[in-house]
């Protein structure tokens, strides 16, 4: 007992030291990214004017309007929703990627791996093409439902529905083995991807719009779209952050997790649904932006360690900051797809980090 008491200080929690610093830096980076992204764009609006506009419109400060209305429109109707969307989508994708990498115990997992991308793409492209293929449905072009157009609603439903379908197909005798889930997701995604390819072939003029959606873009960000996706993402963040302990324990394997009192099948389903809700809400308003959900968790795991108590909030912060800055870069580079920027920035950085770190085997067998 005496030895144990002496040992207590040695074992006492230290992560707040290193991890807390990482979270603090992440938060500061995010705030800086936010400010930079609102202040900069393809049209120059002075920093002072930007601050004044935001102060007047967001905080209700009685600042006299000395700027042209178009500047106000740009800041408040175009840039602000776009930047906030970038933050939410970046954070949501990074968080979902972290969860899936733990859940599936697979370092190649990204938020889309069990069918979200394929399902959302099929839904969105159907929405894009329906008015063209069947002009009677052209009414859909302007219809708005819960702040979203047909394309976004179908994307959300397609993503979520596909994952639920994959989950039910992969269920064998009340259990969903991780490998089965992965392979089923792959198979179903392939089928849906064939459907997408067929639609692209038939698309004619709309091919550009389809391609743009598949590459992902924040150009279509609107306040109504945020109003739809933000609550879903916020709930997803909150509930997943609370599950950090279970994510850690799941890394030990299904059997060990069960021995530690976790209802493994129910937990896997809950985690899948929460992460997919977040991913689908993100994809609905921004298309399938790649790279963020796969690489941000890896980079952070190398930097702050695999403990999800730190990794989850860090993923959200750094994922949000990364996508906000990448979108700023994309806008300044002439409106190129944001996925190109994230890959160009992130991939070399990730490779460098990989070379510097310890071996990347995810588990050691004891």
């Amino acid at each position: 007992m005496r030895a144990a008491a002496a040992a207590a200080p040695i074992i006492a929690r230290r992560p707040l030291g290193r991890g807390g610093l990482a979270l603090g830096i992440g938060a500061m980076l995010l705030v800086a990214a936010l400010m930079a992204a609102v202040a900069a764009g393809s049209v120059g609006v002075g920093i002072g004017e930007t601050a004044a506009i935001l102060g007047r419109r967001l905080l209700g400060l009685p600042i006299p309007r000395t700027w042209p209305l178009s500047a106000e429109t740009i800041i408040v109707e175009l840039r602000l929703p776009r930047v906030l969307t970038a933050m939410l989508v970046g954070g949501g994708l990074a968080m979902a990627g972290t969860v899936f990498q733990a859940l599936l115990r697979n370092p190649m997992a990204d938020p889309y791996i069990i069918g979200t991308a394929a399902g959302a793409s099929l839904g969105a492209i159907t929405g894009l093409l329906a008015p063209i293929l069947l002009p009677a449905l052209a009414i859909g072009a302007g219809t708005v439902w819960l702040g979203l157009g047909a394309v976004q609603v179908l994307a959300f439903a397609g993503g979520l529905g596909t994952v639920l379908l994959v989950y039910s197909i992969a269920r064998q005798g009340g259990q969903v083995p991780v490998v089965t889930l992965l392979l089923t997701g792959y198979a179903v995604s392939s089928i849906l991807a064939a459907g997408v390819a067929l639609l692209m072939f038939l698309s004619g003029r709309a091919l550009g719009a389809i391609f743009g959606w598949l590459m992902g873009s924040l150009a279509g960000a609107t306040w109504p779209g945020l109003a739809f996706s933000a609550p879903i993402l916020a709930v997803s963040f909150g509930l997943l952050l609370l599950r950090w302990r279970r994510l850690n324990v799941l890394l030990l394997g299904d059997t060990a997790a069960a021995h530690l009192g976790i209802d493994v099948e129910r937990e896997k389903l809950t985690l899948t649904v929460l992460a997919t809700l977040g991913t689908s809400a993100a994809v609905a308003i921004s298309g399938t932006i790649g790279f963020v959900g796969l690489v941000v968790p890896h980079v952070l795991r190398l930097a702050v360690g695999p403990d999800h108590r730190l990794l989850l909030p860090a993923s959200v912060l750094y994922g949000a900051a990364l996508l906000t800055l990448a979108d700023l870069g994309a806008r300044l580079a002439g409106g190129i797809p944001v996925g190109i920027v994230t890959a160009l920035i992130g991939a070399p950085f990730f490779l460098w980090l990989l070379r510097r770190s310890r071996a990347v085997r995810p588990v050691i067998t004891a």
Partner: protein, 271 residues
Amino acid sequence: MTVAVAVEPLACTRGVAFGYPLPGGRRREVLTSVDLSLPRGSLLAIVGTNGSGKTTLLRLLAGVLTPDAGEVEFGGQPLAEWRRVDLARRVAVLPQQLDLPVGFRVAELVEMGRAPHARSLFGSTDADEQAVARALSDADALDLADRFADELSGGERQRVLVAMALAQEPELLLMDEPTLHLDLAHQVALLSAIRRLQAQRGLTVVAVLHDLNLAAAFAPRIVVLHHGAVAADGPPQEVLTPQLVQEVFGVAVLEARTGTGNRHLAVDFDG
């Protein structure tokens, strides 16, 4: 006048049967009918041939598997009535092997054993920290606390697994072949430590062992599984006889006595 008081066992199984589902709807029947009673504070070793259902029995006792027939009880209540988390606070399993995720320090891995007891949302309570410290100390792994799993030798990792199980502060410790990857010195060290802990903490211990002599030296009670049922249950000198070993394991052994009077079973290669 002494009154014999019937004490309820900590855990027991009654007529338990279990089979693993195979593709094609068939089942691989592993246990046919197992009756086992575990008095509180007892120490017992389970032996048997490969595939005799030793690991399955441990999993049934831990509540991770549900028997096809029969009942498993803990603390006088059927396992089905226990909440998973409550059971995990009382029963710990030391598995044959475990995937340890890279990047966690040993202390953090051991702390995962506190998961069933976890109360606070984001931190750990003093009770948790003390339990972790005690577990590391009892498992003789204090010096490993700051190391990472992939830096450890096989024996060191085994000690970490023991610490993880002890951190759960269980009443019942189920060990599945804990000596499998250890050399003799580590085998003895581990089993001695378990015996010491059993006495200190009042643990009930069930250990699946493959070495009959080690089992006989370690545990005052041996249970032999054969054909899915208990073939023998009792003190080693009564249970581990050459006749039983011949019948269950199909191997001829000779009984020998050491100078200190201990029994020893020796394989008769030339017989």
